[in-house]
Symmetry: C2
Subunit: 202 residues, 2 copies
Amino acid sequence: MKKGLLIVVSGPSGSGKGTVNARLLQSEEFAFSVSATTRAPREGEVDGVNYYYITREEFERRIKDGEMLEYTTYCGNYYGTPLREAVEVLESGKNLILEIEVEGALNVKRRYPEAVLIMLLPPSFAVQETRLRGRCSEAEDVIQKRLDRTKEELTFLPSYDYVVYNRDGGIDACADDIRAIVRAEGCANKRHPNAYEAYFHS
Amino acid sequence: MKKGLLIVVSGPSGSGKGTVNARLLQSEEFAFSVSATTRAPREGEVDGVNYYYITREEFERRIKDGEMLEYTTYCGNYYGTPLREAVEVLESGKNLILEIEVEGALNVKRRYPEAVLIMLLPPSFAVQETRLRGRCSEAEDVIQKRLDRTKEELTFLPSYDYVVYNRDGGIDACADDIRAIVRAEGCANKRHPNAYEAYFHS
């Protein structure tokens, strides 16, 4: 069975990454993995579905023992991808999509160099700003913080393998770009180091 | 206007490269360029359609002056791709497909590093052999020569960017692989060295 591809999708606020990933996950070829967290389950959340709820001691033991593919902290809690969970998805032949921030993305690449890093971007910073303000739901200081954060995030752009722009084609075109990337990476010579031997001896 | 991609497709005898390229060329996104040759036109051939027919002196002058993207000799005649012809296609925004042998492919890559080299292969050497013998049209020594040549050709495999296998999916799947490669290469970060500046100042 051909192993799946580990795909990391990052993108600034307003890039549409959540919607694009949800679109891809409608297809059987793609899967996500359930994250682990130290925060308490909210009403209605189910262990093993929304998250794996584990203690801080257990999370830190897993970090120490190299059992987390990547992790981050937010509001005093740990969030991360259990390595075993990710490997199971990949070995089932499905492509695993991780939606994570730039620092986490680079950690994944260090840990798992076959990962493909994709940055999803609005057509331009000006359009991103318009989109964020157009939502009308956030206070000016929150919007400004997100725009400032984008400038930091994108300094990591050179470490990414691909940039997908959320332009006129919208979500569909972005999802098609990512499907094309997955298909092309499957043909990439660097992923077939034994192609010569395999050709003559299979 | 976005420049087209220069795609070099190589493949051993029996790989189906001619058929795959013909399939791609049915679409407006792809084009080929008319080669130049020093051989005499055959009956019915038209200058500028089948080939540009030029003299040996003119061909050698073009080589010397760097006006050929790649060239080869066959049965005492020169055959090659005029650089100007290739550049015109690419600047029109179409993807240019060159079907050339391994040595020529590597020369193109040296001359034009943005070129994408794709090797089209039967599923295995055993299948290639069966396909060549199945044609019934060639003498045993011709078939043997082609198989021997394949072993030489594929030592160049590591210089290729992609390997596309002509498997069960046949020509359609190969053409889809190449279309995906073109789309993915369009998103490749290495092709957008100024993405950061462009994002904030466009």
